[in-house]
Amino acid sequence: MSKKQPKGEYIETDTGNKVSRRSQIIGTTNIILGGKTVIQAEVIIRGDLLRTYPPSNPSEKQGNTVAVAIGRYCFFSRGCELRPPGKLYKGQFSHYPLKIADHVFVGPSSIIEAALIGSHVNIGASVVVGKFAIIKDYVRILDGSVVPPNMVIPSFSVVAGRPARVVGEIAEGEVDGMDLREVYRGVGNA
């Protein structure tokens, strides 16, 4: 029994990104989507929190203003949020770009303020990833975890808890399950 999808829930771009009409993406010019990425409804992406360069080189034109860079085959579930982290560095407050690699799955209602997320990462539901956290490749973050700011999560780990701690390792076989191509194909449009 398949429910008839509402007309055009997803807008599909040339590069195969499927963006829901009900997502709330701010500052779209500063967001890079790698391709074949799915953004579900009510996802907030703050592309407006740009890096404010210190005026050390005023003549140099700011060509590359990227706030959020996302890789291929990523999946952002309903209600999650991607926010570039900001901090006070040498007396100057600035936001820093959020870089996400390929095949990253983010569960519903999670809030990501990390600096860097590696490839094949599976983030559960209602997860809070603190500012400037660095998540390496092939990591699974279980539901409801709170990753504290500045934490570095090594590759192949399973992380859970508040504050999040490494509770296990990704088994050899599980690695294939983190590929999101099938998930991408499953996202339908009427």
Partner: protein, 187 residues
């Protein structure tokens, strides 16, 4: 879920507001309710922040940062001693998705991501409520308390409150340039 269509329901009530001129309020912030909402100078309200004054007025001080998806305001009727509604003092940072129904949020307090502050709670100055933490209704949190993990508390005796307030001020300077303000929409 039905597809998006032009809204046929009447728009939610637009509350009386008193907005300072140096306030930065994003266009997609939402102010609803019937009581007065006061937002102080130099405060930044991110898009998708929600203020609901249906049951009691809301007062926000200066130099505050209210992030996305946060929900400020009483969700059910105020008791007799809570007629003043929700008061958020100066220098407070309310992070993404936090639900603040507190009667008072003291100066310099940080309410982290998705924390829930129950109705009528009183938060002291320079507190920090960690992510996903919950404060019960009517609870009183003393000054300088840090609430974290699974209900654990400790007192913050590092003495850096002034530096934190300065940090918030710096953050606001930067946010002022990044978020276009739309005061007229809410006045």
């Amino acid at each position: 879920m039905s597809s998006k269509r032009a809204s046929t329901m009447p728009a939610p009530p637009k509350p009386p507001t008193s907005l300072a001129s140096s306030l930065i309020i994003a266009e997609h912030a939402s102010l609803t309710g019937t009581h007065l909402i006061t937002l102080g100078p130099n405060t930044v309200v991110h898009p998708r922040a929600r203020f609901n004054s249906a049951h009691a007025p809301i007062t926000v001080g200066s130099n505050c940062i209210i992030c996305e998806r946060s929900l400020i305001g009483f969700q059910s009727d105020a008791a007799a001693n809570e007629r003043k509604g929700a008061v958020i003092e100066n220098g407070v940072v309310i992070e993404v998705g936090a639900v603040v129904e507190a009667r008072t949020v003291g100066e310099g307090t940080v309410v982290e991501v998705q924390a829930k502050i129950g109705k009528g709670a009183v938060l002291g100055k320079h507190c920090k409520i960690g992510p996903l933490c919950e404060i019960a209704e009517g609870e009183v949190i003393p000054d300088f308390t840090v609430v974290y993990g699974n209900g654990m508390r400790r007192l913050d005796s590092s003495g850096v409150e002034d530096l934190k307030l300065k940090m918030v001020a710096r953050q606001i300077e930067v946010l002022k340039k990044l978020i276009p303000s739309n005061l007229a929409k809410f006045q």
